[in-house]
């Protein structure tokens, strides 16, 4: 009964994001735990409490990701592992997935992997699908409720939010799931957890520890640069007219001309 929850530190969603003259992304230096991951971490802790499971929290990235890992420990995760290697710098989602999958395999006895719904910094969830594929496990995405989980019988039943409604799905374990907002009310760290987290040295697993070679860290896609969004130009026009009817008629005419109607 071992659950792995994957997290990442991301720029604060309230931070002002801009691009400098050299095409470098400036997102403020303040990082926060991916807000989606807060639900995944809380769900993992709730499952831990209900099933006496062990929870490992994992992040791929340089030292600044320790903050998200320590946050996870402070909420109640049992151990944290950071996966990083200089060769992973600038990784694409597939490289990320390979690293996560290799770490899960190294942990050995994990039967449930949990992700927050997406990474808000790159607005993508591809890494979740790719991780499941690399592990060869079922993927249950957009989970709004875990209806049943039986570690002994190796089964899980979840409710998924799909475009047309909800879908109830059962799967064998091991499996990978991604969770939605609303699956729970995110837990806050406890002072006991904070004290424990602050004393924990987080181990770092590099490529060789994961049994990966340099080729595995070779991405297929690379970011070549960023550009500012084009400035939105707009103007306000006050429509004059003798009466309300007159003004409305003129407005409708204009909207037709602009092909809005």
């Amino acid at each position: 009964m071992h659950i792995a929850v994957i997290t990442k530190s991301v720029p604060d969603t309230e931070a002002v994001v801009s691009v400098d003259a050299g095409g470098k992304l400036l997102a403020g230096d303040k990082l926060v735990v991916n807000p989606w991951d807060e639900y995944a971490i809380t769900e993992a802790i709730l499952l831990k409490e209900a099933h006496k499971a062990k929870v490992t929290i994992l992040a791929v990235g340089p030292e600044q990701h320790n903050e998200a890992l320590k946050h996870g420990l402070a909420i109640g995760c049992d151990q944290a592992i950071r996966v990083w290697d200089g060769a992973l710098e600038g990784h694409d989602s597939l490289v990320y997935a390979k690293a996560v999958a290799a770490a899960i395999q190294k942990l050995g006895d994990v039967t449930l992997v949990m992700f927050g719904r997406e990474l808000p910094d790159i607005a993508s969830d591809a890494h979740i699908f790719q991780t499941a594929r690399k592990l060869g496990w079922n993927l249950l995405g957009s989970v709004s409720k875990i209806e049943a989980l039986d570690f002994a019988a190796k089964t899980i039943r979840v409710r998924r939010l799909v475009e047309q409604g909800t879908e109830v799905l059962s799967s064998r374990l091991p499996a990978v799931i991604s969770v939605l907002k609303g699956i729970n009310e995110p837990k806050y760290p406890t002072f006991i957890g904070i004290r424990k987290a602050s004393k924990t040295e987080i181990p770092v697993w590099g490529l060789s520890a994961l049994g990966l070679d340099a080729a595995a860290a070779q991405g297929q896609a690379a970011v070549t640069g960023y550009r500012e969004l084009p400035k939105r130009e707009g103007a306000v026009e006050i429509i004059e007219g003798a009466s309300a009817q007159d003004k409305a008629a003129k407005l409708v005419e204009k909207l037709f001309a602009e092909k809005v109607l």
Binding site: K70, H71, Y188, F191, I194, A197, K199
Partner: protein, 383 residues
Amino acid sequence: MDFKLTDEQRLFQTAVRSFCEREIKPYAAEVDETGRLRREALAKMPDLGLVGLQVPEDYGGANFDSISSALAMEELGRACGSTGLSLEAHNELCCMPIVRWGTEDQKGRFLPRLTSGEVLGSLALTEPDSGSDLMGTQTRAVKDGGEWVINGAKVWITNASLAPVIVTLCKTEKDAGSRSFSLILIETDRAGVTIAPPLPKMGTHGSPAHMLTFSDVRVPLDNLLGQEGRGLYMVLETLDSGRIAVGALCVGLAQAAFEEAVRYSTERRAFGKTLADHQAIQFKLADMATQIEAGRLLVYRAAWAKDQGEPYSKLASMAKLFTSEACERAAFEALQIHGGYGYSREFPLERIYRDQRMMSIGEGTSEINRMVIARRLLEEAGA
């Protein structure tokens, strides 16, 4: 010298901030309107240690150092002045004297309840006829058999209606000068304790302050806290430590005002540019930020001295004096930057401005703190 917080302090600060942003700040206007603290938030506080900041873990507290406590007070003040004030009074004025001077029995009787998140504690010093001048305390406690019999009135007692117990300064000796006073633990459900409805006041509406009367209230002799006759000295020590927390609360209130000012001045336009593009407004922001930073450092400095076991009374008074006045200036300028909207109840500045006003009055007025600072520095100068 190292100005970095420890890992534990930083993680705690982040956790308290996100707690306050979700559980307290969005309700601050409602707390002010209704005059009631948010009980749901209070109930969630024990896990984070907010209702037992420096209470030992055996009694349900978190046993934090003074710096961590100050970090928590700043975040609470940044979110809601009322909640901050009530938590300050609870932690510093009620829990701390029991932690410092309580017997094992007293700690066991009172602290687990006080750290439960269901109640808040009080300290009762001020009386209708004496505030700053604690030697003027008239509330009498006389021994009668195995009991103290207490008669008198107190005023401005924060949290009294939420408190299971009130640490009360009483006159226990007639003419023993500064040794005439003792602290007595008075449970609020004792016969003869009357707690009047909350006093109407300018700000911190969610933090109830009450007039109390004691008429022939009987408590066992072992409700005496610490030594008989040492009450005044214990109170002064309690206030020294409390002033660090009030200082932190002021930094939080000032920070909140500052953040609102930055937000508004970068959005609102006047004369073809944002307010923040006008140098006169930039200077206001620069002054606020400078004063906040200076105040925060003074608070940390006093808290650090206390944690090191060094004398900190002068530093605590300096921190409280400086931050309470800096906080008023910050609230004034932030409100000014908001123009007419600053005066509107629809914006938070109006509330912050009212909430901060008592900070230069409670736990030692600015005048009293200047007296403390002067007395200490003249002592140091050998004068």
